[in-house]
């Protein structure tokens, strides 16, 4: 019957060991099961780490510069996008508002991008444009070398 005592206790014990492992790894500087910390404003917005995005901007990072978003974050391939384009790609109106309050001009192309990918929340903020040619805006972002 000793075995059954151990069996009853085993699953929670295993979880405790797993959590201890995660905590230990993080304290040692590793970040298992993650992509690691974001490296640019665009990547921070793509990872929905808006605190990091705000920190980058307040530390002097450009709010208009194209940033690399590593593969596996937005898609299976790396993406090059401006912070505003990224906010549209992840359909995050608060991020867009934040960037606008820091001087980013919300160009018509962003509305086209929102229509291309069906970013509902951002579309309600930017509105729809009849002049958009379907697919052009998203193709432009994905075509960047």
């Amino acid at each position: 019957m000793t075995v059954s005592y151990a069996l009853v206790a085993l699953p929670p014990l295993a979880i405790t060991v797993v959590l201890a492992g995660i905590a230990g790894a993080e304290l040692a500087g590793a970040h298992p099961l993650t992509m690691g910390a974001p490296r640019s404003v665009s990547e921070a917005i793509a990872m929905r780490d808006e605190g990091a995005a705000a920190r980058f901007v307040e530390d002097g990072a450009s709010v208009t510069a194209i940033g690399l978003i590593r593969r596996g974050i937005l898609s299976e391939q790396a993406v090059l996008a401006t912070p505003a384009e990224t906010a549209v790609l992840v359909d995050a109106p608060p991020a867009l508002e934040f960037l606008a309050s820091r001087g980013v001009v919300l160009s018509p192309n962003l509305a086209c991008l929102a229509m291309d990918i069906g970013a509902r929340a951002v579309r309600s903020r930017l509105g729809d444009l009849s002049s958009c040619r379907a697919g052009d805006a998203i193709r432009e972002v994905l075509a960047r070398p």
Binding site: S4, L7, V8, A9, P12, I15, A23, R48, D49
Partner: protein, 468 residues
């Protein structure tokens, strides 16, 4: 205290430390915390408490005093003190849990991991750690209830009589659910516990009567308007207008629904806050893994507790209760009382005392079943072991889920701080005093600079823990 007690204590210490690590990841919130700290920092402690005695709808002077004391002690280190005290409360809860179940044999110790997983994995517990105001009143009440049970179950001492009244006064003036402390003491006494004398119980009940007199007659604090809140009903949350249309002139059926669903929520994890989450998922053909695991864990655990009660029925009929029986009886009475005070609207965290006593009762029942099974035939032993492993695994999953939830909350809170100016403006709460502006700057820096969010875990499997 023997080696099994020490082993159990060592285990809960590891669990509490693990939770502390994830809890320390949470910065002080914007909503429900920043404004409260600003409010609590005004005037003197005495004027703050006095002012709260004259507020409307809520009577929580000691919650505000609690916030003010920690604020003053912090000396400007808000994150460290508020979050540190939250961690301290979790550690205290873990110690009280062990004191209540008193593991002294191998059977008891083997049940501890299951019980602790149920304690922290229960959906009613999540609200005690995933948010704060910036002191989590529900966690404070949970501690008061466990402390009350511990005081009541000890050997008779004069100071326990005094403690009963002190704990009751503190809890009832911290949050309304603090009234459950009286239920704990009265139930323990009725079940033969002698820690608090009948005279001590009578004095505490006199204070309880005084509470109602003070609240409804002297101060006329009243209760929150029942038509103010949305509430869960059926498969969704209904706004007050919808509820009024559904129930017409009589709210009684709605109140009955809330009380019954609160009981079911603790026993079966379904419905949740009045909403039949798992059933809705099944009906729509897309049940979440977490909601199904929750139902399995709670339902099988309820069956286990019922089996314990059934096996003890002869002694119970003869009113022969031991300590383990008393904590199970406490669970039953706290469940009923907790559900009753949830009549106006149900919310998972309001049921946290009942959920915590459920974990205590489960620990007792598991230990008992393991002990009984050890004397049974081999076939029966294997059957019981399999059942317990299923229960244990389901609770382990839920315990992991609470940690995943803490990580999610940590990211959400930081995102709120990233856009705090826009949020405060939207809420019409733009700070104007130098103190409030400095506090906002400090807390924002805490959230996004000094303690930035840890990178998000990647993988669809993380979604398994989302239960709605």
């Amino acid at each position: 205290m023997n080696r099994w007690t020490w082993l159990s204590l060592a285990y809960v210490a590891c669990v509490a430390l693990g939770m502390a690590y994830f809890l320390l990841d949470l910065p002080v919130q914007v909503s429900d915390s920043y404004g409260n700290i600003v409010e609590a920092s005004r005037g003197t402690l005495g004027s703050l408490v006095s002012q709260q005695f004259h507020s409307r709808a809520y009577l929580r002077p000691f919650l505000w005093a609690h916030i003010r004391v920690v604020y003053d002690l912090s000396g400007g280190h808000y994150y460290e003190w508020f979050r540190g005290w939250h961690v301290g409360q979790v550690v205290l809860l873990a110690i009280l849990f062990i004191r209540l179940v008193q593991p002294r044999r191998v059977f008891d110790a083997s049940a501890i991991p299951v019980g602790v997983a149920a304690l922290i994995g229960m959906h009613t517990f999540a609200g005690t750690v995933r948010e704060a105001f910036p002191i989590n009143a529900f966690m404070t009440i949970l501690l008061c209830c466990f402390l009350a049970a511990d005081v009541a179950l000890g050997p008779p001492r004069w100071w326990r009589d005094v403690a009963a009244s002190v704990i009751f006064i503190f809890a009832s003036l911290t949050a309304e659910s603090g009234l459950l402390v009286a239920v704990v003491f009265v139930t323990a006494c009725a079940a033969g516990a002698q820690g608090v004398s009948r005279r001590g119980i009578a004095v505490m009940l006199a204070f309880a009567a005084g509470y109602f007199l003070l609240r409804f007659v002297v101060l006329d604090v009243g209760t929150p308007e029942l038509t103010e809140r949305s509430s869960g009903f059926g498969f969704s949350t209904r706004d007050p207008d919808e509820l009024a249309a559904m129930f017409g002139g009589s709210a009684l059926p709605f109140y009955a629904y809330n009380v019954v669903t609160a009981v079911l929520s603790v026993l079966f994890s379904e419905p949740r806050a009045g909403i039949w989450v798992a059933t809705r998922g099944l009906v729509h053909g897309e049940p979440s893994i977490a909601s199904l695991v929750n139902v399995v864990a709670s339902s099988l655990s309820t069956i286990l507790i019922a089996a314990y009660v059934w096996q003890r029925r002869v002694d119970w009929r003869a009113r022969r209760f031991d300590r383990r029986d008393r904590v199970v009886i406490m669970f039953a009475s706290v469940l009923v009382a907790n559900a009753a005070i949830s009549y106006a609207y149900t919310k998972d965290v309001i049921l946290s005392p009942a959920g915590a006593f459920f974990a205590v009762a489960l620990t007792v029942a598991t230990s008992h079943i393991v002990e009984v099974a050890s004397r049974a035939t081999m076939g029966r032993q294997v059957g019981v072991a399999l059942l317990l492993v299923v229960i244990s695994s389901a609770w382990a999953f839920r315990a992991l889920g609470i940690h995943a939830g803490l990580r999610t909350s940590a990211a959400v809170v930081r995102n709120e701080w990233a856009y705090v100016d826009e949020w405060l403006e939207h809420q019409g709460l733009v700070p104007t005093t130098p103190t409030a502006i400095e506090l906002k700057r400090h807390l924002r820096d805490d959230a996004i600079r000094r303690h930035p969010v840890r990178p998000a875990v990647r993988g669809d499997w993380f979604e398994w823990f989302a239960d709605d």
